[in-house]
Structures are given as C-alpha cells and as structure tokens.
C-alpha cells in the first residue's frame, strides 16, 4: 500500500514535471511570437529586441505563469476525489 503509493507519486511527479516544462516552454513561445507580431505591425518606436525583452520580462512575472503550478495541483485533487468517491461514497 505504501510502496504502491510511493510508486504512483514518483511516476506522476516525473510525468507532470515533463508536462509542466513543456507547457511553460510552449506558452513562452506563443507570447514571444505575439510580441514579435505586435512590433512587426508597426507603430512602436522602441528597438525590436528591447521591446520583446521587456515584454517577456513582464510575462515571466505575470499571474498567468503562476497558473502552471495547477499542473501539479489538479491531478492531486482529482486523484484524492476519485479515491473518496469510488470507495467511500454511496
């Protein structure tokens, strides 16, 4: 029982960590592309690289990036709920 739980926790942690980093890289890439397109649309006097650099720095500090921690939270909550509802709820 304890060993099984430890094994599940280990596998889940590895899989979710991969997902966590993939999601972060993907979202960052989308944000950078959007910033590039914004600059390329014209009307911004700032240097292109400086504009993107500043935009990315603001993005890294935003609340949205912190939401990626839900990758760990949601499965834990779902599994806990499943254990309760599948075993102890009538």
């Amino acid at each position: 029982m304890i060993l099984g739980l430890a094994r599940l926790a280990l596998f889940l942690f590895v899989a979710l960590t991969v997902l966590f980093f993939l999601l972060r890289i993907y979202a960052r890439s989308l944000r950078r592309e959007a910033l590039e397109e914004e600059w390329d649309a014209g009307g911004i006097t700032e240097d292109r690289d400086a504009f993107i650099h500043r935009g990315m720095a603001a993005y890294e500090k935003s609340l949205f990036v912190k939401l990626f921690w839900l990758v760990y939270v949601i499965p834990t909550v779902v599994i806990s709920a499943l254990v309760y509802f599948l075993n102890f709820y009538q």
Binding site: Y26, I79, L82, L86, N87
Partner: protein, 227 residues
C-alpha cells in the same frame, strides 16, 4: 511499398490504442447477481497480466496463488457473466479501488433469483476471455429499475475528452516547435549548404585543368544521338 507499410503501421497503432482503451475504460452492464464467491486461483503467465496485485496492504509474495473474489451474474438474456472483484489500489488501471471486500458485500446484498429479479448496473473494466480464464474487474454495483434503463457512460466521455484535449495540446506544441525552432534551423542549414555548393562549383571550375580537358576530349568520341 513504403506508403503501404506506413498505412499498415498506422492501422496497427490505431488497433493497439483502441484495444488498450477498450480494456481500460469503464463499461456498465445490466445484470442479475446470482451470487458471490471466492476461489483459490493458481495464475500462470498467460492470465496473470489480467489480474491485479493482491489486495491493498496484503503480502505480495504469493501473488500468483491466492484467493480471488468473484461476482457471478446473469445478463437479462440469460447468458452467464462472471466478474472478478479485486483492488486496483494505486496501480494500473487508475480506478483507485480499495474496497473490493465492501463491494463483495454490496453485491451479495443485491443477489436475486430468476423469479424475483433485482437488476443491477455493474461498472467494470477488462475482458472475459474463456481461453485464458480472465475476467473483467467490477468497480461498482447499483440497483436499477429495469434491464432497459439508459446508462450514459460519463466516465468514458470525460476520460476520452481529456485525452483528446491532451492530444490536441501536444499537436499544437509540436506545430509551434516546428514553426519556431526546426524551420529556422532548416533554413540556416540550407543557406550554409548553398554556400558550400557555390564554393564547390567554383573549386570544380578551377580544378578542370588537364584531366578535365582529357575527359572532355574522350567525350567527343561518344556516339552522337541519331537524328
């Protein structure tokens, strides 16, 4: 040929994925419970994969030779349908079932005779294969009004939706990676190759020299295409 091979591989992959989902996703049958029992089983390499580990918390030393709980049922059309009733605990498939003994009591409580049938919706996963003596694993039992009630498979709907969303997400991730990382790298490689090509052409032109003139002279002895 290669195209055919690709299709064969894709079909095989789809088939394996389909079988995997069909084995692991929950299904609900409506049955009449005849009785519950436990039987000592000596599992072999052929059927052990379709049984769980011993009940959660138990010693796992004799996993292949132990008592296993069964729920014997009959379908509304009168066909027998036997379910095993085992914990999946924290393992695969992720049903997190620890209550097999409670389920056994609940199933026993719902047992009925053919004369006064109680219809029971039994949720399970897995296959019954007589050749291998393997059984689907019951997850949940509940009484229903009649054998023809409609059951909406919410569990499968939710799981398949989540899987589809994940597949879509990975596809978009790959597309983004391809567009932003692979394509620029390919263009760079192409430009580098073009530069190498141009240099090679220049070198070839320079290296023509004596040998080049000799092979050109040999070429003049080749048959001309007829008019």
């Amino acid at each position: 040929m290669l195209r055919k091979l690709k299709w064969i591989m894709l079909t095989l992959l789809a088939l394996i994925l389909g079988l995997f989902l069909h084995y692991n996703l929950p299904q609900t049958d409506i049955v009449r419970i005849v009785g519950t029992s436990f039987r000592g089983m000596d599992l072999g390499w052929e059927n052990q994969w379709a049984f769980s580990a011993p009940e959660s918390g138990s010693n796992t030393a004799n996993a292949a030779s132990r008592d296993i709980l069964f729920i014997d049922t009959v379908t509304p059309s009168g066909r027998p349908s036997v379910f095993r009733n085992e914990d999946t605990a924290w393992g695969w498939p992720p049903y997190f079932k620890f209550n097999s003994f409670d389920l056994q009591a609940a199933a026993g409580n719902l047992a009925s005779t053919a004369e006064a049938p109680k219809w029971v919706a039994i949720t399970h996963y897995g296959w019954r294969i007589q050749f291998l003596t393997i059984f689907p694993n019951a997850i949940k039992v509940r009484q229903v009004e009649s054998p023809d009630v409609t059951i909406i498979p919410w569990g499968s709907i939710i799981i398949l939706t989540v899987l589809a969303l994940l597949a879509f997400l990975f596809w978009r991730m790959w597309a983004q990676f391809h567009e932003r990382t692979i394509e620029p790298a390919m263009i760079e490689v192409e430009e580098a190759l073009d530069a190498v090509d141009a240099r090679a052409d220049a070198a070839k032109a320079q290296a023509r020299g004596t040998w080049g003139r000799f092979t050109a002279w040999l070429g003049t002895w080749r048959a001309k295409p007829r008019k």
